[in-house]
Symmetry: C2
């Protein structure tokens, strides 16, 4: 493995000083920004995430702010999920599709008010798509990237830690809802959400200047809870079936192929630019879909390119994320499998980059 | 510095096997793809680039293909450069701007035919902007990312190496023109261009499958020329004043601020979506602009965030790229400076991240 080369183009975050002081060992780049991938080891970070509480620099989940009379209309143009029932204070996971129904991103939409939204994005410059749609359709809306950097607090002790910094009221925030809480005289949006299955919060830190003060306050308040710097954990997210845009799905896939059909209301999401393209797939269903897959044998290498799934000599799918799970004592994986082979219990082979072949089994559901 | 974490989201290239075999030591991520940054050392790579020939994996310069009756109209909507005189076979460096005149990318446009263009992009998902403009304006054009990965051959011996693989005809390709040449029965577009001032070519490798065969053919043919794997070199590109999107300019800047006014024909580039916004700045000129800057003293650290340029207590600009130049025996840098302080010879101070202050001088022109 090689080192990551620093440059201004690969943006530091308001929390980078804290991340470095905590001894980050690996980075990836996400939305042109540094995202930590490992502190002690993937396995040690995993164990700690499942038992204590971690603070994650996920500033790379950049926000797109929509503001103005056409904000809600624009938001509905972006996604096949019907947003009419959504209230201020709610967060929705929204597949974003192009005019062909191809996935452009899978963000969380945060409805701040009827005419003000944040889109908390995965790894693609969705801002360019949203700005050009607003321009091309002459909508009356401002679209920009505000100075908002999410900081996640994840793990079974997340409520305890957060209550110490923001007060007990934060315990009452429901899943995928948000409240507004005070920190050093600043009002911050805090949602119960995050890219793990261990529970926790995402704090939308508005203003780079309070990034490190908040980081330090959380670390200080959680000392006896063994709070540590952490990051999205490859193993834990595969166990939980949390998809990663760019890894498990790309523009080539529809939401239905990604198993996100339940977040699509193609009939009623009127205005969505990909609606026509998705109507048929919504009726008939996709011909391939994401599945949990277990790979036999020892720990597999890191999956940095799609691994072919074979039924004998025929390719019937591919694996796009994989890792050894200490808790389930198998390699857990995420793959896209053709309809003919996607039933739970189906046994296939995967071809690893070194040419070796491993037996795999399609699972019914993810591990946690 | 930390390691870069592999994942499918950070795409490997058709040449990654060759890059790794050559002992790459540093990577960055560019258009969601691996881009090498150093092989032996920045300084050793620099010296070799200026004296021999290197093969660069710049597959991350992804292509956007425009195809159809409205391709030329769409291309003109993207840029304030007047494209009416451009002929098939030509390459144009084109600032791409949004509706406010802000830079979205600074690619090279390759005109394959009246109705077929490639846009060879810098680091932003320009595809999303172009697709949405085509959609919003209901243009009759296909927009997609083809399987085309540029491979650059750079250095004073580039002509000799290329002639051995593609024949002497390649020597006749003029600067920013391209020809079509055969490799193993495949027709490849080859342009005289590249992200260095040492001369050379960019081969638009169409088809992942011929990536490594071509890489190997070049390495084999150039053995006695001391050909090596290389990459864009931080020092050499600053000496030559080659800007980097995301480093030296962002969406916040107009082309005129970036010194790219000579690539803008705002009066005649009718149809460009940013034309109205740029008309005034084109007439009056920008109030800040990119300048070459020399920083006194020993080698500066890597510039991974903007360094403030001060006139006493007043900030009058910032430095966004900097490196020690062995040939010019000073720190060479690129910065954005206010009109009041941009004249050549102006002396200012720069504040480094550790708080130390260095004297700097604004230069008239870049070093090579």
């Amino acid at each position: 493995m090689a080192m990551i080369a620093p440059s201004r183009r690969v943006r530091r975050t308001p929390f980078s000083d804290g991340v470095e002081a905590a001894g980050v060992k690996g980075y990836t780049v996400y939305n042109h920004m540094l995202l930590p991938t490992v502190f002690r080891s993937i396995e040690e970070d995993y164990r700690h995430l499942k038992t204590a509480v971690q603070v994650w620099d996920v500033a790379c989940e950049r926000q797109i702010e929509l503001r103005g009379p056409d904000a809600a209309r624009l938001m509905q143009m972006l996604t096949p999920r019907d947003l009419r029932g959504m209230l201020p204070g709610q967060c929705y996971y929204v597949p974003i599709v192009d005019e062909t129904g191809g996935m452009l991103n899978d963000p969380v939409a945060v409805k701040l008010a009827e005419d003000r939204w944040w889109i908390s994005i995965a790894d693609s410059d969705l801002l360019l798509w949203v700005k050009a749609i607003a321009h091309g359709w002459r909508l009356d809306v401002l679209v920009d990237e505000p100075d908002v950097s999410p900081l996640a607090v994840q793990g079974p002790l997340a409520d305890d830690l957060m209550a110490r910094v923001f007060g007990d009221g934060v315990r009452d925030v429901r899943f995928f809802r948000f409240g507004v809480f005070d920190f050093q005289g600043r009002s911050l949006v805090i949602a119960r959400s995050g890219y793990s299955k261990q529970g926790g919060f995402e704090i939308y830190v508005e203003g780079t200047d309070i990034g490190m003060p908040l980081w330090n306050a959380l670390m200080e308040a959680g000392r006896d809870l063994d709070v540590r710097a952490g990051c999205p954990n490859l193993v834990e997210r595969i166990e939980g079936g949390l998809l990663s845009y760019g890894n498990d799905m790309t523009r080539e896939n529809t939401p239905h192929e990604c198993g996100l059909g339940r977040f699509c209301n193609t009939q009623t999401a009127i205005g969505c630019v990909g609606r026509d393209a998705l109507l048929r797939v919504a009726m008939e269903g996709p011909v391939r879909q994401i599945r949990p897959i277990a790979i036999e044998g020892d720990a597999v290498p890191i999956c940095d390119q799609a691994w072919p799934l074979m039924d004998g000599l025929h390719q019937v799918g591919r694996i796009t994320s994989a890792a050894w799970s200490p808790d389930y004592e198998t390699n857990v994986a995420i793959g896209m499998v053709r309809m003919t082979h996607w039933n739970a219990g189906t046994e296939l082979d995967v071809v690893l980059p070194d040419g070796s072949i491993r037996p795999v089994t399609v699972y019914e559901s993810f591990w946690q």
